[in-house]
Symmetry: D2
Subunit: 328 residues, 4 copies
């Protein structure tokens, strides 16, 4: 169709394509409003009459992000159709500055489709961060776990079918479905809040399963607003935050001569000195990690050839809905 | 402790008391900020110098609510500790204008405590509203359902314990727990948004289980800000909304003489006339229901003697956590 | 340009047209995302598998609005470019669920363009509602007032030019500009929150000046999502709210026989009876007003021929910026 | 009064005290809900059963802030009564995640009290940041400016009095009052969003006048939640953000040996090398500024002896309201 609205060919290319995530989930970009130029236009309304307008789009967008002038990026909006396990949906929904319409288990029959972790992501509790995975797969255990999951899901699915077949209210029939059951929703969010979402959910500390969604969404965003995305990669995703004490430590280790930076020969800070600057033991470790960890090298590139038509998933879901002989 | 902050004896009386909801859940009022007088004070800052200040608190609060001047009621805040099945939590969390801290299944072991509907609430799918219950209990089926729930929960609980015992990451171990598993959170919300929550969740169309929570919360709110609550009962909970067409119909049926209202003798509107006023068949039925349904007679009174100490629930939950022999 | 996004010819027609408001202000629809069909699509994701999909778009949208299922209408987004006096902007900005980028008086020079009320809107303080206008123009006084406004604005404008010419920081130079000075912004909001905005600002109790903006915006919205708009007209704008007491009064005056409604002959309620039903004197008056006031008959139709190109306003504003000889 | 709610002696001490800001403004802490212990308690609900609870409040709060776990700090709420010039109010209101009740110029007569910048803050436009002040006072010009401000305000005040005396609607009478006119409001915000407010408004790039308010509010917050405040000082206010390129530069200049950090002797990065790491000229300057600027040394300590009773300001405002002989 023809429009006078701002459009973006790279985004148009993937519009309505369904990208698989995990074993049965997906994300599709359904609609978008605006692009980098609209962020610029919104910022320019601030820089009105009587100002020079020399900087170009990229420079302006990087300036805005660097200085946390985030309101112009609220002017771009993205809408997605997503399908994910309920335990992922529960983390996702915490991002309040967005709009959601979820599949209703009160109205509708729920497809009996469940998420099954693959062996490589089946890992032990991390001993260090206390909330995530260790990084090492529990390969030997996986086959057993799969068998147990399948048994449990058969029981839960049978229970759901039995209740629905006996006309029990759907809002009750569903209560023993597992958190691994897939649900789906429409989700709309602006660029500013989406960057915040990615900051939390594309991060290495996020649970692997929601990270898988965040990565695909990042690839879509990269097509909608590539300059804003690049700025986010450089200043947020690949950057870091320093405390007052860490900054003071660096000032002792690095010398500034005019516009040259030099390592200050002989300067040395051990745990004792860092502690005197106010860093706790744990903060010292975190500081060292910042200075040694390899920078993230994700490019979040999306391959349109991996996408499938909407019907593929619709058919799979519809086929998994309990067959009941109710006379409605 | 002593404070110069506004306090409210009726609210202080129940502060920290844990009121049971459903079979294992609870709601406790943990803290509150302000009362009716603070709504008034905030409104008065608008009615500043050069205005008469004759109306008293009750009149002002009723005026504000009637005319949807809702910002002053944002000045009162309530904080709750709540424990509810996950499927209830999923409806609850949709109220975005609030703050939540939920028990984390990534950090912590989840107590194996599940919600079991009682026979009287075990009902068929409603044929009319298509998303709720019929109102009639499926008594004959209940015992069977309970047995099946217990079997399924045993399977799910065993699976969780087995995975945790094998040191599988908690964020993965939990994924097959049923939606009936209890979770808990701290929840903070202001009076304005809490009234919106009650409007949706204390309503007859809400799922029974979340309504049970809304009713207890309403009872707490009644103690924190009794005049605001009374106004909500009169103007929202017990009131209704009329469309343009319904209002036109009433103007034909009711005559206004000065300040007297009279039934207009001989005035009669059937489906045809109502349809001509723009009402669909469904709207006609809804209009008639508004004029015939008995007004709600809940008083939302809370009986402090039904409350239990926090420790009661803490002990129950703690006892239901899987015993694992991990060396952490 | 070509797009696969949902478009809407009636909205495309006015995209980028600048509609004048007041003496120097404007509103332009800059972009939009979605239409009625997208509200429907979002709602349908709730009504998933195992439900009948018989109702068509209009019926569904009216059902959603009637029952306050507002989340699907969050899926439509509108973006405007607006120019209004600062005192209007101060009322407007109170609608927090939206995004704004305002012209910055810290960066930029402010055009010396001021709002001058016309004689017909120059009215006395209302004696009844205590915050608005009486409805009657103070014609005799207007010419005097205009002369005084012009003198005061000359003083304020001279002061601004003098400060700016002496290189005083712009953030300081502006502080004595009057509240009638025009400012401008980009404004983005979703359909649900825009209806709320219109409910408050297109209402007869709103200040005339912001109502003038609300009316133009309503006309734009009517083109973006006509079915949603029609439903809003019928259920919100032209409807009303009844309290518990008012509803009880109507039940005494109107008889329901099957699906027929009849005026109950001989039923009569005076102030005393209404007071017994809990209505205050003021509420009685408000109730009577609801039953007697003529329904609003605005159609909010927008005439594209009244619009002007963006350049028209840009030129006017640019020409009103102080000419300073600063060497920057 | 006696309460079972959590209280905080340092906060109680200043509750209801009015601290002067600028020449006629003020901020008073009116109420608060919770303190550091409540942040901890909210976080602990996440760290439930089966976790060790060894870390104490301070460590936990610093951990939360360092890792941007901000939801627990939403559990603390503060309420203020503030009086500020309208141009300050216009910046302030942009912080949407808060509640506001402002003095209404539609209902009430506006006190004719205006903000007059002192000589030391009367500065030229900054040549470098393009939106703020240069840092240097335009002392010679100040007396002239003051005289001009006074003349303009007399004109504006007379106009307001004349219009009000002729019974012109207050919503119209006010439109030529200058942006320097004082207004007032109640303002409620949670700790998380207040830290964001302070991050923007206590920053050196904020306009001096709003910064003056932010500093007093910071002093109040320090008394309500001292450990959270200390963490904010260390990690946010005194810290900084590094981009991917800046981080890479530091990795070349600093060597990590075990837990020791050393300046890397001979390492030297000039503009060319930094440009190769992706930094623009402007970013190079910003990077050097981060490594050379003295850390902020504000302690935001509040002196209760500078406060005045509420009546002091109420009297001043009331006295500045136009005396009109209307018979209402």
């Amino acid at each position: 169709m023809d429009t006078r609205r701002p459009t973006n060919p790279a985004a148009e290319e993937i519009l309505g394509l369904y990208f698989p995530v995990l074993d049965h989930g997906f994300v599709a970009l359904v609609d978008y409003m605006g692009s980098d130029e609209d962020v610029e236009r919104a910022a320019r309304v601030s820089y009105g009459y009587g100002t020079r307008r020399t900087s170009e789009t990229r420079g302006l967008i990087r300036y805005l992000r660097r200085h946390r002038h985030t309101t112009p990026s609220e002017m771009v909006e993205l809408k997605f159709h997503c399908c994910m396990p309920i335990f992922v949906a529960r983390q996702w929904i915490r991002h309040r500055a967005s709009s959601t319409n979820e599949y209703s288990g009160r109205y509708s029959l729920i497809p009996l489709v469940f998420y099954r972790p693959e062996a490589e992501h089946f890992q032990a509790q991390s001993a260090t961060n206390r909330q995530g995975r260790s990084g090492e797969a529990l390969t030997a255990l996986h086959a057993d776990a799969v068998e147990r999951w399948e048994r449990g899901r058969r029981v839960a699915g049978d229970q759901y079918e039995w209740l629905v077949a006996h006309d029990v209210a759907r809002e009750l029939a569903r209560i023993d479905l597992p958190l691994s059951t897939y649900t789906q929703w429409y989700w709309k969010i602006d660029l500013h809040n989406l960057f915040h979402f990615l900051g939390v959910r594309a991060d290495a500390h996020a649970q692997y399963e929601i990270r898988a969604y965040a990565r695909v969404i990042a690839g879509m965003l990269k097509r909608v607003a590539p300059l804003s995305f690049e700025a986010w990669l450089d200043f947020e995703h690949g950057g870091t935050h320093l405390s007052r004490g860490e900054l003071q430590a660096l000032r002792r280790l690095v010398e500034v001569r005019g516009r040259d930076l030099e390592g200050r020969a002989g300067a040395r800070l051990g745990v004792d000195e860092l502690t005197q600057l106010g860093l706790s033991r744990r903060e010292v470790d975190e500081f060292i990690a910042k200075l040694t960890a390899a920078p993230p090298d994700d490019d979040f590139e999306l391959d349109p050839s991996t996408a499938r038509p909407a019907e593929h998933f619709a058919r799979e879901m519809e086929a998994a809905v309990p067959r009941v002989d109710r006379k409605t």
